[in-house]
Symmetry: D2
Subunit: 290 residues, 4 copies
C-alpha cells in the first residue's frame, strides 16, 4: 500500500503531473532545484515542499528532469530507504537506466524507466501515456501511483525499454515533422491549397500525429508554442540513433533525420519549440509553411 | 442534372467504386479492357457493360486506371460530347492532368484529376477521400456523382493539384512505412515488446497511419495482403519526387525514401503489397518484424 | 580542312579557350552578348569580333554559355551553312543536346555536346578535358579544332553523352566536397591536425580531387575564389539527378547530395564559389574548416 | 637506439610489413595466433618466430590485428619492459587507443596508434602511409622503425588521432565507392561508354582514388580481389560514424553511407572484398557495372 509519494523536478511536465497526486495520496512531497517552484506548487496544490533528503523517504519517488545525466547526478549522494520504487519519467538514455538499476539495487530500491508522452495538455488532464521498462513486480506495485497522471500505462520490457520506446517515438515524430515539411512545401510550390490538402491527408494513409495536430496547431498558424524544446527533440533523436548503432543496424532514414534535426537545432533561435525545426527547411526552400 | 454516369477501369478500386453508382443514377455504364470483368460487374450490380464509345456518352465519366499514361492513351481516339465531365480517379501525374485538360477542352469536356484514398475497404463502404484538382464549377457539378463513393471530397486547387496531394500522401506513407520499420527493428534488437511499444506510440506524438493500421494489420502479422501493389507505390513516390524537382526544391528525406522504395520494388518478389517494402530492410538487419 | 572557326560566349572559360584558336586557324570569329568583351578579345588575341550572323558562317562553331537553354535560344533564329559543325562546350542538358541535333540536322549542321573540364587554369594552358557526345564522324572532323584548347578529348557516346559525363563528374565533385567537409569537421572536433591528415589521406584510398586540390587551395585557406559559381554546380547536380530519374534508378547518395547542394546554394551569399557550399555545413557544426 | 623489434599479427598486411624489418634490425621477432604462419615467415624472411611473452621484450612492438578489441585482449596479460614503444598498426578505435595509452603507461610503455594505408601492394613495396597519434617523443623514437615499411609517416595528433584519420579515410573511400557506382550506373543506363567516361573523369574535378584505381582494377573488370574485406570497411565506417556522434555533429552523407555499407555487408556473400559493396547497388538497379 502506497502511503507517500514524491515528485522531483517541477518543469513544464512535472509541475502538472505532480498536481494530480494529492487527490490520490495523503503525503505528497515535491522538490525542485529552484526551490521557489516547489513552494509555489505546495501553495497551489496542497503538496509539501521539502528538502530532497526528506522527499526521497517517500514510498514512490517520481522524477522528471531534462536528461538522464541530471537524474544520475542527483541519485549519487542520496540515502534511500529499502523498498522504495524510483519511477523516472525523464526522457532518458537506456544505458543509464541499467546503470541506475544496478546502483539503486544496492540500497534495496527498484528503478523503473517510465517516460511519458502526451505533452502539457496530457499532463493537465492526467491522460499521459507511460512506457515503462524494468522489473515487472516493481511495475505492478508502482502502477496505482502512475495512474494519477497516466491513462495508458504499459510495461514494454526490461530496464531501458521505456526510454527506448520514447526515443523511437520522438524520432518518428522528427521524421514525420521534416517529411511533412518537405511534402507540404512541394504542394505549396505547385499552388495547392494546404488546408484542404491537410484535410485530405488526414483522412488518408499518409496521415500522422504531425499532420493531425503539429502542423495545423503549431506550424501552419506560425505559433510554434514552446512546449517541447527543440534541443530536447535533438537529444532524443540522438538517443534513438545511439540505439541503432548499439545494435549495429543500418537505418538510413533515422540517421538522416537525426542529422537534419541536429543541424536545425544548431541553427535555430534560442528557446525554439521542436516544431520550429521546419524553419531551417524554409530557409532552404524560400517558402513559408502557412 | 446528372442522368448518366460511366466508370472506366474496374480494378480492385474501380470495381468497388462503381458498385455504388446504380443506387444514385438511372444509367450506369461500365467498361474494362478485359471486358469479362465489365460483364461480371453488370451482373453483380445492375450496371450496363457497354462499348467504350457508348460508355463515354455519359454525363459524367469516371476513370480509374493504373497510370496517367493509360488514361491519355484511352482518351486519344475518343469522341466525347460537349458538356461532359471526365473525373479521373487514377493516381496520376500532375503534368498529364494539365495536358488532358487542354486536350479535352477542345471537345468541350472538363477534366478533373480526382484521385481517391481509403483503399479497398473505403471503396466497399463508400467512404473514400477524393482530392480534386481543376475547374471549380466542374468540381461543383461533379460533386453529387463523387458522393456515390466518397465521404470527404475536397477541391484542393487547379488542375494537377489532386494528383499532387495524392502523390505527397503516398510519399508520406512510404516515409512512415520505412522509418517505422527502422524504429521497430531497433526496438526489437533491444528486446522491447513490439506490441506494447506500438500501443504506446499510437497514443503518442510519433503515431501515424502506418503505426495505427499498416504495421499491426499487414507487417507484424506477416500477412502483407496485396491490396496496393508495391510497384504502384514506387510509381507514386516517383511522381512526388518529380514534383519536388519541378519546383527546384531540396528534399532530402523524400529523395532518400524514393530511392529506398524504388530499390525495394526492384528487389521484391512479384506481386508484392506495398507493405512488403520492409522486407528489403529486413534483409539488411537480419531481424524479422513480427 | 577547317578554314574558319567561331567562338560564341566569352565567359571565364570561353574567353580563355578562344585565345588559343588564332595559333591554329586563319580566321577566328568571336561573339559575345556583351559585345565589348568580343572587341576586347579581338584586341588582345587577334580574333575578329563580328556579328553573330557572320560568326556562324565559320566551319566550326564553338559555344560556351551558362546553360543549354541559352544555346537553344541562340540557335533558334540563326541561318547556318550546311556542313558546319556546332561544338557546344556548355555544361548542358542531355535532352536538349538531342533536340539541338534534330533541329540543326535540318540545316545540314552537326551538333556535338562537348563540355570541358579543367577550370580556368586548364583553359589558360590549353589542357582541358573535352567529353564529346554525338556523331562519330563529326567528332573526328572537329577533333583538330578541339585540340586548340583540349588535351584529353574523348568521344564518350551518342548525343547527350558528353553532357551526361560532365554532369556526373560535377555530381561526384559535389559528393566529395560535402563528404570531405563532414569528415574533416569530425577530425577537427577531435583535435586532429588537418594539414597532416590531408597529407595522409592524399596518399591513401580516400583521396579525391577535392582532398588534393579543392580543400587545400580553396577551403582550408578560406579563399573560396569564384572560378566556378555555386549556382552552376547546383544546376549540374540537378542535371545529374534528372539523368538518374530518367533512367528510373534509385541513387540515395546522389539524391541526398543534390538536396544539400541546392540548399547550400539557396542559403549562400551572392556570388559564391562552389566550394563555399561547405559554409552551410559550417553553420550546422559551428566549426570552421581552416 | 633500436636493437630489437617485434611484429604481432601476420595477416595480409602484417605478413608483408614484417618482411622488411630484417633489412633494418638485427633482432626481429614475429608472432601470430596461428603460429604456423609465424614459422613460415621466419623461414621466408629470416625473422624469429617466438612465444608472445618473448616477442614483447623487443624495443619496439608492432601490432596489426583485425580490431582494437583484439589488441586490448592481447595486451591484458602481458608483462612488458619499461621504455618499450607499442606501435599499433591496426585500424582501430580512438577511444580504445586512449585506454591502451593509460594501461600501458602503468608499465612504463608508450602506445602509439599508427594505422597504415596503401593496401597489400604498399606493404610489399614498403611505401605505406602511416598516420600516427600519441606522444610526440615516442613518435620520434619509433620513427626509424616505421620507416622500414612506411614512406609517408605523419604525426597527426594526440592518442586516437591516427585511428581517427584512418577511419575518416576509409569512410571517404566508402562514400566514393558508392557514389561512383550510382554515377556510372546512371551513365551506363544512358548508353555512355564507361571506359571513356572514366578517363574523362580521371582528368577532371570529380576524380578520386575510386575512379583512378578501385573501379578500373576491381569493379569494371569484375575481379573484386579480396585484399580488404568488406566487413572491415563496414567496421571502419562504423568507427567514423562513432566519431561523428561523439562530437555531436550532423553528418548526413557519412551517416547514409555507413547505413548503405552496413547493409551491403549484411547482404554480401561470405568473404567479399570491400569493392563488392557495389553488388547490393547492382541488385537495385539491375545494371552490372562492367
Amino acid at each position: 500500500m502506497i502511503q507517500s509519494v514524491a515528485f522531483i523536478g517541477l518543469g513544464a511536465m512535472g509541475y502538472r503531473m505532480a498536481s494530480h497526486l494529492p487527490r490520490h495520496f495523503d503525503t505528497v512531497y515535491v522538490w525542485n532545484r529552484s526551490f521557489e517552484k516547489a513552494k509555489q506548487h505546495a501553495t497551489e496544490y496542497g503538496t509539501q515542499a521539502v528538502e530532497l533528503s526528506q522527499a526521497v523517504q517517500a514510498d514512490i519517488i517520481f522524477s522528471c528532469l531534462p536528461t538522464s545525466a541530471d537524474v544520475a547526478q542527483l541519485v549519487e549522494n542520496l540515502e534511500l530507504k529499502p523498498g522504495t520504487i524510483w519511477v523516472d519519467c525523464t526522457s532518458g538514455v537506456p544505458d543509464l537506466a541499467r546503470q541506475l538499476v544496478t546502483q539503486l539495487k544496492n540500497q534495496g530500491v527498484d528503478y523503473l524507466d517510465a517516460p511519458v508522452s502526451g505533452q502539457t495538455i496530457g499532463a493537465d488532464n492526467a491522460t499521459l501515456t507511460v512506457m515503462v521498462g524494468g522489473d515487472f513486480t516493481a511495475f505492478e506495485r508502482a502502477y496505482p501511483a502512475m495512474q494519477a497522471f497516466g491513462k495508458l500505462i504499459k510495461h514494454v520490457g526490461e530496464s531501458g525499454a521505456g526510454f527506448a520506446v520514447k526515443a523511437v517515438n520522438n524520432m518518428l515524430l522528427a521524421v514525420n515533422l521534416w517529411s511533412v515539411a518537405e511534402g507540404f512545401t512541394t504542394l505549396k510550390a505547385h499552388g495547392v491549397n494546404l488546408g484542404e490538402a491537410l484535410d485530405c491527408i488526414n483522412a488518408s494513409s499518409g496521415k500522422s500525429g504531425v499532420t493531425e495536430t503539429i502542423f495545423p496547431q503549431r506550424v501552419l498558424n506560425r505559433s510554434f508554442p514552446v512546449t517541447f524544446a527543440l534541443p530536447l527533440l535533438a537529444k532524443d533523436a540522438g538517443i534513438a540513433l545511439d540505439l541503432v548503432h548499439a545494435a549495429k543496424l543500418p537505418a538510413p532514414l533515422i540517421a538522416l533525420t537525426q542529422s537534419l534535426i541536429q543541424a536545425a537545432n544548431q541553427t535555430a533561435e534560442e528557446n525554439s519549440d521542436f516544431s520550429a525545426a521546419v524553419k531551417m527547411y524554409e530557409s532552404w526552400s524560400k517558402i513559408t509553411l502557412e
